[in-house]
Symmetry: C2
Subunit: 350 residues, 2 copies
Amino acid sequence: MVTMKQIAERTGVSVSTVSLVLNHRDEGRVKADIARKVRTTAQELGYQPNALARSLRTNKIPIIGFVSEEVATTPYAGGIIQGAQDAARELGYLLITVSGDDAATVEQEVLALKRYGIDAFIYSAMSNRVVTIPQCLADYPLVLADATDRDNRFPAIEPDEFRIGYDATTRLIEAGCANIAYVGCTTPGPIIAQRGRLEGYRAALDDHGREFNEALVCNVDGNEEALRAVEHLFAEQHPDGFFCFNDSRAWYVYECAARQGLIVGKDISVVGVDNHRVIAETFAPQLTTIALPHYEMGYWAADKLISIVEHRDIAPTPNPLMLAPIPPLDGEEPVKMHCVLIEKESVRPQ
Amino acid sequence: MVTMKQIAERTGVSVSTVSLVLNHRDEGRVKADIARKVRTTAQELGYQPNALARSLRTNKIPIIGFVSEEVATTPYAGGIIQGAQDAARELGYLLITVSGDDAATVEQEVLALKRYGIDAFIYSAMSNRVVTIPQCLADYPLVLADATDRDNRFPAIEPDEFRIGYDATTRLIEAGCANIAYVGCTTPGPIIAQRGRLEGYRAALDDHGREFNEALVCNVDGNEEALRAVEHLFAEQHPDGFFCFNDSRAWYVYECAARQGLIVGKDISVVGVDNHRVIAETFAPQLTTIALPHYEMGYWAADKLISIVEHRDIAPTPNPLMLAPIPPLDGEEPVKMHCVLIEKESVRPQ
DNA sequence: TTGAAAGCGCTAACAC
DNA sequence: GTGTTAGCGCTTTCAA
């Protein structure tokens, strides 16, 4: 390993000079040609700074922790993490991801991070849910991504569930559907998503002078029972438009449609939220999909967090997705949905 | 922050004693009651070792790097990462994941890791492919997970593609299917998986005295065209059993079956590889799925890597999955498939 | 404009 | 058994 000492010896200067130069603090403090000489020998020797030594000395480490309780079980985690990692890299940080099945494991991992001096975290639930922030994170700079704090104390980047429901439904109305069903979910996990999207659905109907019909809301869980429920929906209500909570629910609609000889995109219209990516791979372009802005949530969460730890004042988190129009029903591109930043008082470490 | 120095002062001993005790190197070197006193004051003060200082001094850091070029786009990455992280934690390591869209970004991230003294890596492709190991990793301890090295130099943990094909097909034969189709893929990416599974399919047919019929192999890519190809397969060959490369392909079979009024699990049998987890959520228990052992691949890759860096001789990677029986066609549990360890000469850093 | 020196928190060789 | 001491590679006064 090449050290500053070696560079100093080879150049015939002291380590402090080398440190100054290589940290770009030489302006008006080191003669220009000495600085140049230092830089070239550093280059020649292939010097790489020892980040451990620097962090030990400065007592700060440019790494942020990404904490989640369920990376393993969710297929859409990658986008959030990638976004956070990209933002981190652009700002000179590394991202280290930890997760565990239970709170205890998570805490153990967080503790390990803290031992390295990592003291800023992103907490993510991997599907917009109300979460309880682990105690071990509560006293540090923290930003939530795709999660809602039960106690409402931290900045959070979440999908705009209401607009998802509103825009999906509006799209179906514009496609000429007369009888629009919502195939939602019953499980308590995604309650925020479920409630917000359903509200959006109702609001869109309302704004277009349509009457809300309870019988067109079909909340299902999975498997046989779900399939039967959707079959029942087809039989009783004959919907010609479907807003589906996610891929699985879209599948039930497809299955029932196929059994009845109905063609999606012709006889009926379907708009679905694409969690698993299998929709885009398989159904498109028959299906208008709403891709959740996972990447963007991760990106802006990391950006926000780093702005906090650096005491940098930034403009409010941009929402570039706000501008993306919903493409026509036969478009091939998934729709990127709006993502909303909820600003809370940010918490500082003691 | 509580330091050893503070503990030493409070206990009335020297830092070296404290270090000895807290690192469990006090056996026969420090009097038992002194050791106890040190431990209790450490407890009282809530001492947490400074990992940076330790790593700087010892010149080793218990963190392994997990490198991949495409975390963002794959829904099944989580399992591999979670497995690797669990193994790492159990062995006292942290896992840090980096990825990027292109080789340059990956290299930049790897360089950042190296600056922290991280010098052991897992490289993963997130779907068993032939990969070229980035130059920046080639001289370090390295284990591949769900990837095959083009130059065959590193230990690798991969799914046993042949057995996937063989067992899936055998299961369909045992289910009484007379005419078994393979719905595979055309894209060059998963070429290893495609080839291995197809070979397994052929071998199983062969071993059961069935004749291989080219017309029953339907390699498709996606969307309309794929759907038409599968429809054609139904019309021309009337298969009663289907082995599907992945979720998307299984969906085409379901769609066509539904259009023809055929019930899966009654009129036809389907075995599919579950990449996206949406199958298990949605289709089960109608569909026998083969869950790729992502978690296990990650787990054993990390175990292997750590055994290399610690010069620990371990027994050959266990293959607990080998024992899992394929459940009956109506079983609800996905089948965990065998995962194979390919032993190569492991590479050591200079 | 440069260098000497202290020290971040820890480990480990060596005295006593 | 226990303490003293010398660093790991870097940043940062402070003196020259």
